[in-house]
C-alpha cells in the first residue's frame, strides 16, 4: 500500500463528501444517473435472456451443472411453498387477530398433535430433498477415466494451466483492457471495457464433449477456481491437489473468477475457458505443443 491507512481513510471520507461535485465534471456522472434512475422493476422486466442471467443461477453447459441448477430450483420451490404456508398463516393472524378488531385472546398454549405434525412434515420434506442431492454428489466425485487432464496452479494473482501429457502450459491473467480501467479513479468508464474484469490474456482451451479432469493446487495462498457454467468451484490449496471434472456440451466462451479471498488482487484473477470443437482443439494443441 502506498499511503498510510489513516490518510487513506480520511481521503475516503473526503471523497465521499465531494462525490457529487466531482462527478459532475466526469463521465461518472452519466453513469451514476444511469444507475440511479434504474428502477428495480424495470430491471427485472429487462430482456429475458439477460434477466435469467442476472437473477438466477446459470444452467450451465454440462449435465451436472444442469443437475445442480435443478437441485437449486427444487430446494428453492420447496422453500417458497413452505414460506407461502407459514407466512400465509402469519399474515392471516396479523390481519384477523388484532386487539383493535375487538378480539379476545385465546388461552391455549400447547398442542402435542400440532407439534408432532410440524416436526414430521419438515423431516419428510428434507428427505425428499436429500435423496436426489446425494445422487448428484456421487456423480460429481467420479473423475475416473478422463479424456484429458489439466493441472491448474494458482498464484497471487494469476492462474497457470498445464495440459498433462503435452508440453502445453501457460499463465493466464487479467486482460490488458481491464488492467488499465481497474486502477483507482482511472478515469476509464468500466462500461466501455468489454468484459470488464472478466477477461484474460490466455484462456484455457478445451474440446467439446470430452471428459476433462482438473487438478488444482496453489503456489502460495488458497484460491478457488470457479466456473459457473460448469458448476465447478474447487479450492486450490498449497500442498494439496484437488480434483474436479466436467464434460462441456456446447462450444463457447465461459467466464468465472477466483472465489476464495487471496489477497489484494483477489478480485482481479478471472478465469476464461474456451470450449471448441474437438478438431479445432487438436489443432490448437498441436500449434501450442513444444512452443514453450
Amino acid at each position: 500500500m502506498t499511503e498510510p491507512v489513516s490518510v487513506q481513510f480520511l481521503s475516503v471520507l473526503e471523497r465521499l463528501a465531494c462525490l457529487s461535485r466531482r462527478a459532475a465534471a466526469s463521465q461518472v456522472n452519466n453513469l451514476m444517473t444511469r444507475k440511479l434512475s434504474l428502477s428495480l422493476l424495470g430491471l427485472i422486466l429487462a430482456g429475458t435472456a439477460n434477466a435469467e442471467w442476472a437473477l438466477n443461477m446459470p444452467k450451465g453447459v454440462t449435465d451436472l451443472s444442469l443437475e445442480t441448477y435443478n437441485l437449486h430450483m427444487m430446494v428453492f420451490w420447496w422453500c417458497v411453498a413452505i414460506a407461502v404456508v407459514v407466512f400465509g398463516v402469519m399474515i392471516v393472524s396479523l390481519v384477523k387477530h388484532r386487539k383493535s378488531r375487538g378480539v379476545v385472546a385465546a388461552t391455549f398454549s400447547h398442542s402435542t398433535t400440532a407439534e408432532v405434525i410440524w416436526t414430521t412434515i419438515p423431516v419428510i420434506i428434507l428427505v425428499l430433498m436429500a435423496v436426489p442431492t446425494a445422487e448428484t454428489m456421487v456423480k460429481l466425485e467420479d473423475s475416473r477415466d478422463p479424456d484429458l487432464s489439466i493441472v491448474i496452479t494458482a498464484y497471487q494473482w494469476k492462474w497457470h494451466y498445464k495440459y498433462q501429457d503435452t508440453d502445453v502450459e501457460f499463465y493466464s491473467s487479467l486482460a490488458r483492457e481491464s488492467l488499465g480501467a481497474r486502477r483507482k479513479q482511472s478515469g476509464i468508464d468500466p462500461f466501455s471495457v468489454e468484459n470488464y474484469l472478466r477477461d484474460v490474456d490466455n484462456p484455457m482451451v478445451i474440446p467439446r464433449d470430452a471428459k476433462v479432469r482438473l487438478l488444482f493446487t496453489s503456489n502460495d495462498v488458497i484460491h478457488s477456481w470457479w466456473l459457473p457454467a460448469f458448476a465447478i468451484k474447487k479450492d486450490a490449496i498449497p500442498g494439496i491437489v484437488n480434483e474436479a471434472w466436467f464434460r462441456a456440451n456446447e462450444v463457447g466462451i465461459y467466464r468465472g473468477q477466483c472465489a476464495e479471498l487471496c489477497g489484494k488482487d483477489h478480485g482481479y484473477m478471472p478465469i476464461v475457458v474456451e470450449v471448441i470443437e474437438p478438431e479445432a482443439y487438436a489443432a490448437w494443441i498441436a500449434s501450442h505443443d513444444g512452443e514453450r
Partner: protein, 538 residues
C-alpha cells in the same frame, strides 16, 4: 438488611462509601462496578458504539461497491474494511449486546440479587475495550489492519503485516471475555434462581441464554486454540497449517468452523429468546409450546457442533464427509422450524397490538425465516458449490444477522427500555425507526441474492459491469439503513423525556422483571421473591 456485614469488608470497598443503597459517584461507579445493571448498561452502550464503527466500515464497503470501477479505496484497504467490519460486528456489536441484555435481565427474570460472580462480571466487560482498542489500533499500523477476512484462513492471514499478532491477541481477549461472561451466566441461572423456579419454569430468554452460554464455553477456547496455532506457525516455525510439514491449511478451517458454526447460533439463540418474550406480551397469549421451544433450542445447540464443514464444501473433502455434513445441516431446519411455528401459533388467535418491540419481532420472524431458507439452500452441497463465496452467502448471513439478531436486539431495547429508564420512549419515532429499517434492510440485502446467483464473488472491491444495477440498489439501501439507525440513537437519547412508565410497562406482561418498579431499583431481589409472584409466570 444487615448493614454491619457490608461494613465488615470495607477493605475491598474502594471509593464506594455507603453504596449499598445506590450507585457510587463518578467514574468509579463504572470502572469498579459489580452491579449487573450498570455492567449491562456498559455492555449495551459499548455494543452500540461498535455497531456504529462496524457500520461505518460497511458504509465504506457499500460506497466502494455502489458503481463499478475503483472510486475510493485501494483493494487492500477494502479487504481490511471487510475483515474489520465483520470482526467488530460479530464480536463487538452483536455478542456484547446480548451479554448486556443478559446482565440486565437474567437476574431480574429469575429473581436473583445480581450475577453470581459480580467482580468477574466487571472484568468480562472491561476486557472488551482493551480487545477492541487493540484491534482498532491495527488500522494505523504499517501494512494496515488485518485483511484476510474474519475467517482468518491461513496461509493468507500469515501475510498480514505488523497487525498480525495484535489480531491474534485481541481475539484471545474477546474469547477470555466471552468465556468469563458465559461462566457467569451459567452459574447465575443454575445457582441463583428464586426458590421454586424449576428449570422448565424459566422464561425463554433465560433458557436460550443458558444454552448459548454452554456453546460459548465449548467453542471460544477452540477459537483461541486455532489462533494460537496461527501464531506459532507464524513466529515459531510450527507446521500446523503447512502441508510440507505434514499439516494442512484446511485443518485451520475445520477448527475455525468448529467454533464458527456454533458461533452463529450464539448470535441467534438469545435473539430467539427475546422474540419469545416479546410476542406473547403483544399477542396477549402465553408462549405456545414453551417446553418444546426449550427442546428445540437444545437440539439446535447440539446439532451446531456437527455441521461445521458446510462452510467447506469446496475444499475437497471426501464424499462421505460432505454427505454427513450436508445431512446434519439440513436437520437443523427441523428444530428451527419448530420455533418459527410456535411463534406463529402464539400469535394465532391472540389479540395483537403492534408497538415497536412487536414490530421488530414480527419482522424478525419473517426475515429470519427467509435467511433460514437461504441457509437451507446453502446446505445443499452441490448447489453450495455455486453459491459458496458469492453474494448469495452474504445475503444469507445478513438476513439472519441484521433483521435477525440486530432486529431482535433493537426490539429488546424498546421492550425493556422503560424498565431501564423508567420512561416510555417515543412510540411514534420508534415506529418510524422500525419501518425505515425494515424497508432499507431489504433493499440492501435482498438484491444480494441475485448478485450471488449471477456469480458475483464476495470480498471483491470491484466487479464486472453486469452486477452494477443491483449493487447500486444495495448501496442505496445500506445508506438508508445506516441513517435510520441515527433515529434509534435519537430515540434512546430522548427516552428519559417520555412519560413515566409503570412497573408493568405493557399490557399485563408475565414474568418477575415486571414486578419491580420502573426504573428497576439499583438493587433488586436482595431477598428472593415470594412464591406467589413465581406462580404468576406460566
Amino acid at each position: 438488611m444487615n448493614t454491619s456485614i457490608i461494613d465488615a469488608h470495607g477493605h475491598d470497598n474502594d471509593h464506594s462509601g455507603d453504596d449499598h443503597h445506590g450507585p457510587a459517584k463518578g467514574i468509579g461507579r463504572w470502572l469498579y462496578s459489580t452491579n449487573h445493571k450498570d455492567i449491562g448498561t456498559m455492555y449495551l452502550i459499548f455494543s452500540l458504539l461498535m455497531f456504529f464503527i462496524g457500520g461505518t466500515m460497511a458504509m465504506v464497503i457499500r460506497s466502494e461497491l455502489a458503481i463499478p470501477g475503483l472510486q475510493f479505496v485501494h483493494p487492500e484497504f477494502f479487504n481490511q474494511m471487510t475483515t474489520m467490519h465483520a470482526l467488530i460486528m460479530v464480536f463487538g456489536a452483536v455478542m456484547p449486546a446480548f451479554v448486556g441484555l443478559a446482565n440486565w435481565m437474567i437476574p431480574l427474570m429469575i429473581g436473583a440479587p445480581d450475577m453470581a460472580l459480580p467482580r468477574m462480571n466487571n472484568w468480562s466487560f472491561w476486557i472488551l475495550p482493551v480487545a477492541f482498542g487493540i484491534l482498532l489500533s491495527t488500522l494505523f499500523m504499517p501494512g494496515g489492519a488485518p485483511a484476510g477476512g474474519w475467517t482468518m484462513y491461513p496461509p493468507l492471514v500469515l501475510q498480514t503485516g505488523d497487525s498480525f499478532p495484535f489480531l491474534i491477541f485481541s481475539v484471545h481477549l474477546m474469547g477470555l471475555s466471552s468465556i468469563m461472561g458465559a461462566i457467569n451466566v451459567i452459574v447465575t441461572i443454575i445457582n441463583m434462581r428464586a426458590p421454586n423456579m424449576s428449570l422448565l419454569k424459566m422464561p425463554m430468554f433465560v433458557w436460550t441464554w443458558l444454552i448459548t452460554a454452554y456453546l460459548l464455553i465449548a467453542v471460544m477456547p477452540v477459537l483461541a486454540g486455532a489462533v494460537t496455532m496461527l501464531l506459532t506457525d507464524q513466529f515459531f516455525g510450527t507446521s500446523f497449517f503447512l502441508a510440507a510439514g505434514g499439516g494442512d491449511p484446511v485443518l485451520f478451517q475445520h477448527i475455525f468452523w468448529f467454533f464458527g458454526h456454533p458461533e452463529v447460533y450464539i448470535m441467534i439463540l438469545p435473539a430467539f429468546g427475546v422474540v419469545s418474550e416479546i410476542i406473547p406480551v403483544f399477542a396477549r397469549k402465553p408462549l405456545f409450546g414453551h417446553d418444546s421451544m426449550v427442546y428445540a433450542a437444545s437440539s439446535i445447540a447440539f446439532l451446531s457442533f456437527i455441521v461445521w464443514a458446510h462452510h467447506m464444501f469446496t475444499v475437497g473433502m471426501p464424499l462421505t464427509g460432505q454427505l454427513f455434513f450436508m445431512f446434519t445441516t439440513m436437520l437443523i431446519a427441523v428444530p428451527t422450524g419448530v420455533k418459527v411455528f410456535n411463534w406463529v401459533a402464539t400469535m394465532w388467535r391472540g389479540a395483537m397490538t403492534f408497538e415497536t418491540p412487536m414490530l421488530f419481532s414480527l419482522a424478525f420472524v419473517f426475515l429470519f425465516t427467509i435467511g433460514g431458507f437461504s441457509g437451507l439452500m446453502l446446505a445443499i452441497a452441490p448447489a453450495d458449490v455455486q453459491y459458496h463465496d458469492t453474494y448469495f452467502v452474504v445475503a444469507h448471513f445478513h438476513y439472519v444477522l441484521v433483521p435477525g439478531s440486530v432486529f431482535a436486539i433493537m426490539g429488546a431495547a424498546y421492550f425493556w427500555l422503560p424498565k431501564w429508564t423508567g420512561h416510555m420512549y417515543n412510540e411514534a419515532l420508534g415506529k418510524v425507526h422500525f419501518w425505515t429499517s425494515a424497508v432499507f434492510v431489504n433493499l440492501t440485502f435482498f438484491p444480494m441474492h441475485f448478485l450471488g446467483l449471477a456469480a458475483m464473488p464476495r470480498r471483491i472491491p470491484d466487479y464486472s459491469t453486469q452486477y452494477a444495477d443491483f449493487n447500486t440498489v444495495a448501496s442505496i439501501g445500506a445508506i438508508g439503513f445506516g441513517l435510520s439507525q441515527l433515529l434509534f440513537v435519537w430515540v434512546l437519547l430522548t427516552s428519559k423525556k417520555g412519560p413515566k412508565a409503570t412497573a408493568e410497562v405493557w399490557d399485563q406482561p408475565q414474568g418477575l422483571e415486571w414486578t419491580v418498579p420502573s426504573p428497576a431499583p439499583y438493587h433488586t431481589f436482595e431477598t428472593p421473591p415470594s412464591l406467589s409472584e413465581m406462580d404468576s409466570h406460566h
